[in-house]
Subunit: 405 residues, 2 copies
Amino acid sequence: MSKIVMKFGGTSVATTEKIVNVAKRIRNVKDKGHEIVVVVSAMGKTTDELASLANDLSENPTKREMDMLLSTGEQVTMALLAIKLNALGIDSISLTGWQAGLQTDEVHRNARVDNMDASKVLKLLAENKVVIVAGFQGVTSDNEITTLGRGGSDTTAVAIAASIEAEICDIYTDVDGVFTSDPRFVTNARKLEQLEYDEMLELANLGAGVLHPRAVEFAKNYKIPLRVRSSYNDEEGTILKEEVDLENNLVVRGVAFESDIVRLTIEYDIPFNGSLASIFTTLAANHINVDIIVQSIVDGVRPAVSFSIKKESLAEAITVLESNKQVLGFTFADFEVGLAKVSIVGSGMVSNPGVAAQMFDRLRKENIPVKMVSTSEIKVSVVVPQNEMIHAANALHDEFGLALI
Amino acid sequence: MSKIVMKFGGTSVATTEKIVNVAKRIRNVKDKGHEIVVVVSAMGKTTDELASLANDLSENPTKREMDMLLSTGEQVTMALLAIKLNALGIDSISLTGWQAGLQTDEVHRNARVDNMDASKVLKLLAENKVVIVAGFQGVTSDNEITTLGRGGSDTTAVAIAASIEAEICDIYTDVDGVFTSDPRFVTNARKLEQLEYDEMLELANLGAGVLHPRAVEFAKNYKIPLRVRSSYNDEEGTILKEEVDLENNLVVRGVAFESDIVRLTIEYDIPFNGSLASIFTTLAANHINVDIIVQSIVDGVRPAVSFSIKKESLAEAITVLESNKQVLGFTFADFEVGLAKVSIVGSGMVSNPGVAAQMFDRLRKENIPVKMVSTSEIKVSVVVPQNEMIHAANALHDEFGLALI
């Protein structure tokens, strides 16, 4: 009898009909003799609807009270699912975050899991019950209800899987698994059987994500095998683990891309006595996320720095830079819009130094100009014109043999 | 600074607009310098909607899970109200039943309050916060969420009022207070300024209730002044207390009535060796509520018993009686439908022995036949033909001078 955590997202439990389907799927797994903990999200658009009620009442609703409000969503789903399972003859019990023992820090709306005391869950599993836990929510040491922020239910599932030493944590979602690239745009993108945690982290951070990075990090830290699979069919999905089995010797396992990137360039006069860091400290203090940073020298003497941000942050970034021009000590700022980021990800790159070169070579052959480059041990990102993004993604997907099977 | 509990029912908080009105009313009371605990029900039809989802999934939903499900309703209201109060600049915090310290027994869907630990509420009041507590819900000593059944939010309000020694517990509702009779049917029915707990208990049990009997009993036991008043205007409402001030020397303070009563009559052959009690034990075991019981002798020798039940229980009562005929030892059963109960209530009756006679006399003058009679220290009930119910109620309302002011 192995322990399994099954997590169902909001679209999988959006209606009572869908809850019936989820209950039957749980029964199938239960019939195989597993001990099961189920983690559920709020039904469909419930969270948005609750938030909209709050926004009717206040422009800036108290975060603590938003947690009170939003945490009811999962509580409704878990009770309905337990009711259906019991009606199907599967002994089942639901637990809120605080009942399940999910302790968090005090940061309302974006709490982090401090501890998961699984004693109650384990006791109920030992009584042969299917235990259903509300995702996304926890409790502080002071009995305050918190929510975990975006992707929170995935994090709940992984935290519980770690605490009960589950064999696997299955994340049921509306896609069949993690793909080599977005199948809507990249011809022959195919589902991966396996992927490493770090690769998933890079893909998720690059906008190709089906899992929240925080949940992946958690799974990585506790070495919980995490499987992304469809709640609508019985396909195997994609397993995330620490090290994947050799899969066709692929060095690159995914191509991610992200549109609406802006490149900002800042130039300094000489003599330059400041620190480039100060500009990024100022931007961070104003909640502007900077992605790729490239430092250069203009005309052989004047220092310059280019960096990329999301288009939606541009107006504020310019305001911040202009109003701090004196303090930051730069003389010239410019920006280029209409850009996109395309990245190749794969843990095999570490031992294959030619990957970046192969990438640039293919882009050159495709006449796609590269505006910026960023590399990590398992990823190479390039910034290209936005109208070349899909072209670049398809070319690289082909170049690294991702559609070969 | 006196402590006040304000309770708002589902219709008073049915929309965000109504929640805004409730928030402004609370601000007015707060501005007078009071310490305030607010108890809220679920918004409008929320509880029914949640129950309907559960019924989609199971004919007989697990009671424990129903409590999980339904308790979300009040949690939504309290969070929204706290958000609005905070937006109005009134420092406010919401608490679920378990956070507020409302401990109950283990009977899901109909739990009784065992204890109210007010330490957290008092601490928050001392911090000058308006404390909003979810009505209708509590927690067992084993951290299981329970609900208090019908009228549960009233009970929550009274339990909290008792535990914090509130000056008054205000029940805001959609009527102006407790009336001498139902104004929809009785001409000149008027609002009572005061009423005794016991009188309210009789009126509530007789179907004229604006407050649940359990809440009234609780208030009586702890001597909490309870005020029923409108959430739509500033009228004073009706205060319930242990002994009312003399109000126009009224002996009778209310006329209640209830339709759809059936009289069942059971006759026994002689010699009769059984016990009349056994028939009522059998009915009770089958959850059939018996109201008035009259014992008599037919033809001077054969024992008989008549009793009244609600029409909706008739089919089952007959089935139960027929299938137990042998054991219970009766020979004949008959029933009469199309009856109603009309009652006069007033604590002054104890010291005014002529009240029942005056009642029968008036009914005789009105040519209203009396089928059954039941008396208690503060109440006289008669069963009359249903088509005479409103006639009887108006006549008695007039007879005892209830419309005189």
